[in-house]
């Protein structure tokens, strides 16, 4: 552990927010020429540590040293000046300005008191050429993909700080190839002697690129080790402090097939969105929906829930034909939908946990039938307990909860309406491993209670763990169904990857 002196050393950092200790005596060392993964569940204190390192927050106690010299970061600019550059999770650049402006704002080359645009653009081209990126630096940043924007952000941070680079979930919105490009850049920077702090949810990437890992849990240091000396299962144990529920949960495909399938969708489809499909689902079933991004999964959910109107087809519930043209119709039929993008489509961040939970039920009851505050509190309390939503109190605005707990609040909102058919679109995206396991356990419990569930997920193992049947989508069409013991990761993968022509119908 003492092979090289630390470039950036953090000793005994503590930071409290009102009534809650976010960091408690954390030590953290980044050495030159290493990629250091910083892991932890949501709420473990990663973001707080990053904000302390980059001068956004001031620590309550502890020392930060750069090259052995204690430093106090006054703000982000000062942190940059001291050599710590940061690229945040949502790329924080200015899409309305040119690439060159984004690289050099605040430090533009000047001539006669004016910005020398020509020189600035030349420097921008030179800078990006180091990353094998050749583009028109005078055009707006918004014209380029997220991956390019990420590289621009890295180029800026590296150019300005030149010592330590902090990357907060840089790969969250990148595809496989873009991630490779990013990793190549990181390896190049490592070779140049940078200390890189890498935060991610993807454990595979940790093993692919990182040298060392530090794990935080509940604001405390859980452990730090060379990645080569730490098997994955130990890493997960470090993160969770308990064994993973997914791994121990026995697959569900041996469940009895329901006698009748109450919800029947025939020939539903919408041009340029999803090819017509049939879907039957009975109570006590979990249908997993697998497929790549853009294969028509979310489109299916939108049609089922009446967000998009179907061009053709009909729906029967308990044998009676029904018409679903709007989400209101769907809710009236006992449907619920937890959308994919919970930040923009799901939670209402400024409203409290209680208000968010009561929203759908109130909408169902109508304008003039207000839930009394006692009913609301009771309802919220019940679900906070039942789903183990971690919040200091039910009046806390939802935006202050971690991702997993926000997801549970949305689930609670629909469960409050007592739905018969619940659609979950990527319920486990962007939440930590522990909450992940809890959501899966919850899906299983709801299924046991006789609810019909349709779960869309990108994580095949997860689908295998809870589905009684699996529908595979490809190229905007339902391509096939797997049930029983055939539900295995490899079967699903093969079906997703199958050639369009030779595909089983």
């Amino acid at each position: 552990m003492t092979d090289k002196p630390g470039l950036l050393v953090v000793e005994g950092i503590s930071k409290s927010f009102v009534g809650f200790k976010a960091l408690d005596g954390v030590d953290f060392t980044v050495r030159p020429g290493e990629i250091h993964a910083l892991l932890g569940e949501n709420g473990a204190g990663k973001s707080t540590l990053i904000k302390v390192l980059t001068g956004v927050h001031q620590p309550d106690a502890g020392v930060i040293k750069i090259d052995g010299q204690p430093v106090v970061m006054r703000d982000t600019q000062h942190a940059q000046y001291l050599g710590i550059g940061t690229v945040y999770q949502e790329v924080n650049l200015l899409p309305n300005m040119s690439v060159a402006d984004n690289l050099f704002i605040g430090r533009q080359p000047m001539r006669f008191g004016f910005v020398n645009r020509k020189r600035m653009e030349q420097q921008a081209r030179d800078l990006l050429a180091q990353y094998d990126l050749h583009l028109d630096v005078s055009s707006d940043l918004s014209r380029y993909s997220v991956a390019v924007q990420q590289i621009v952000a890295i180029a800026r941070a590296v150019d300005m700080s030149g010592r330590v680079l902090v990357l907060d979930e840089p790969t969250a919105s990148l595809d496989r190839h873009e991630t490779e490009v990013l990793f190549a850049i990181l390896r190049q920077l490592r070779a140049r002697g940078f200390g890189i702090v890498f935060i991610t949810h993807f454990l595979d990437q940790v093993y692919e690129i990182c040298d060392r890992v530090t794990v935080l849990r509940n604001g405390k240091l859980a452990g730090s080790a060379l990645i080569a000396e730490l098997p994955k299962i130990e890493l997960v144990t470090l993160m969770l402090g308990r064994t993973l529920a997914v791994a121990t949960h026995k697959p569900r495909h041996d469940r009895p097939i329901p006698a009748e399938r109450q919800f029947s969708f025939k020939g539903l489809g919408r041009s340029r969105s999803i090819a017509p499909f049939d879907l039957d689902i009975g109570q006590g079933e979990v249908i997993g929906m697998a497929g790549l991004l853009g294969s028509g999964r979310t489109e299916t959910a939108k049609i089922l829930f009446g967000i998009d109107a179907a061009d053709a087809g009909h729906i029967r519930i308990d044998g009676n034909p029904v018409l679903i043209r709007t989400p209101r119709d769907a809710v009236a039929c006992g449907f619920g939908l937890c959308p994919e993008d919970r930040k923009s489509d799901g939670i209402i961040g400024d409203l409290s946990v209680r208000e968010n939970i009561c929203l759908a039920l109130q909408a169902q009851k109508g304008w003039f039938n207000r839930l009394s505050s006692r009913e609301q509190t009771g309802l919220a309390d019940t679900f906070v307990k039942a789903l183990d939503i971690r919040t200091t109190d039910i009046e806390k605005p939802v935006k202050f909860l971690s991702g997993g707990n926000q997801q549970k609040v949305i689930l609670a909102r629909w469960l409050a309406t007592n739905p018969r058919f619940l659609i979950l679109d990527e319920p486990t995206r962007g939440i930590d491993v522990g909450a992940h396991a809890e959501i899966i356990a919850l899906i299983n419990r709801l299924c046991d209670d006789g609810m019909a569930l349709l779960v869309i997920s990108s994580e095949i193992e997860e689908i295998v763990a809870y589905s009684t049947r699996v529908i595979v989508l490809r190229d905007r069409a339902h391509r096939g169904e797997i049930s029983g013991d055939d539900i295995t990761t490899s079967n699903i993968m093969q079906m997703i990857a199958a050639e369009s022509e030779g595909a089983p119908a």
Partner: protein, 325 residues
């Protein structure tokens, strides 16, 4: 072509078509006289609109402009006519007061995190109120220095007059363009308007920039007030009511997004000239009510907001098409 330039080009096209249509009906409008008067008559509006463009580019709004113009006019009239202060000293006092006034609104907007709409609305009432405290009468300004400035013009071929205040407006626009595109301060304004949080994280001095923007708007409103007092030779508390709305209209017609971050000072110039052309047309026609200016400006505003929304939709669509799904 850069989609960013499209609103600007549309504005320029509309301006040229409008002028051509006017000239077609009244050939006399094609003269340096009309051109000179366009600059002179709209000088105060244009100068205030430059300040407003910076404010809107940063994602804010300044409703105090009209009141500050009136305040400056009344202050100058009181100082010069009642107290016998030399106009140059009066100008300096007025500019100092309006700049500090603008800066303090900026301080409140930034540090107390109050929306600029509310703060400048309060500023609007305050400045208008101060006019009435000084005087409720219309005070004429009769000073040899004023007469000299008013008589200062360059005679264009064809009889048009390029007046001092007209030139001053053009100069302010040129300086505005330089500040917007060739100074650090200008890039900070665009940055703050594009995304405040990002700008802050990238090390843009947001506080300094915000205060600077409103100070500049205050200064330019004061300058517009001086020009207005030169133009009317009087100070009156009820003058320039609603000018802030005219400047906002000029800025939006000039292609600047009300959400901030996107726009050009040059566009605002064209926006001001379009309003001037409509007014000139109404004068030439002689039968139309001057309220037709408002109606046409209203229609133009609607079309420009619609155009901007369409452009935003199109660029979003293109972005999703290229990034794939």
């Amino acid at each position: 072509m850069n989609a960013r330039l499209l609103p600007l080009c549309a504005t320029l096209l509309i301006c040229l078509i409008a002028y051509a249509a006017c000239v077609f009906q009244f050939p006399a409008m094609f003269s340096t006289r009309v051109a000179g008067n366009l600059l002179t008559d709209n000088a105060f509006l244009g100068i205030a609109a430059v300040g407003m463009t910076f404010v809107i580019l940063s994602g804010g709004i300044d409703l105090s402009v009209g009141s500050v113009i009136a305040f400056t006019g009344v202050l100058l009239a009181v100082l010069i006519t009642h107290y016998g202060v030399h106009p140059l000293i009066a100008f300096a006092i007025a500019l100092l007061i309006t700049t500090v006034f603008g800066a303090s609104m900026g301080v409140i907007i930034h540090y107390l995190e109050v929306p600029s709409f509310i703060v400048t609305l309060a500023g609007m009432f305050l400045a208008r109120g101060m006019c009435f405290v000084m005087t409720t009468d219309s005070i004429p300004i009769d000073h040899p220095f004023y007469t000299a400035l008013q008589g200062l013009f360059y005679r264009l071929p064809g009889g048009g007059r390029l007046t001092f205040i007209g030139c001053l407006m053009v100069l302010v626009f040129l300086l505005g363009i330089i500040v917007a595109h060739f100074s650090k301060f200008g890039s900070y304004i665009y940055a703050v308007g594009g995304n405040r949080t990002s700008a802050e994280l990238m090390g843009v001095p947001v506080a300094r920039t915000t205060i600077g923007i409103y100070a500049m708007s205050g200064f330019l409103s004061g300058l517009a007030g001086i020009v207005f007092s030169l133009y009317t030779s009087a100070g009156y508390s009820l003058a320039a009511v609603g000018v802030e709305l005219d400047t906002i209209a000029a800025v939006v017609i000039g292609g600047t997004l009300l959400t901030g971050g996107v726009g050009y000072i040059a566009g605002t110039f064209i926006g001001v000239i379009i309003q001037g052309i409509i007014q000139t047309y109404i004068v030439f026609d002689g039968t139309l009510s001057s309220w037709w200016t408002k109606i046409v400006v209203g229609v133009l505003l609607f079309s420009f907001i619609a155009l901007q929304r369409i452009l935003v939709f199109l660029s979003l669509k293109r972005a999703t098409a290229t990034s794939g799904g």
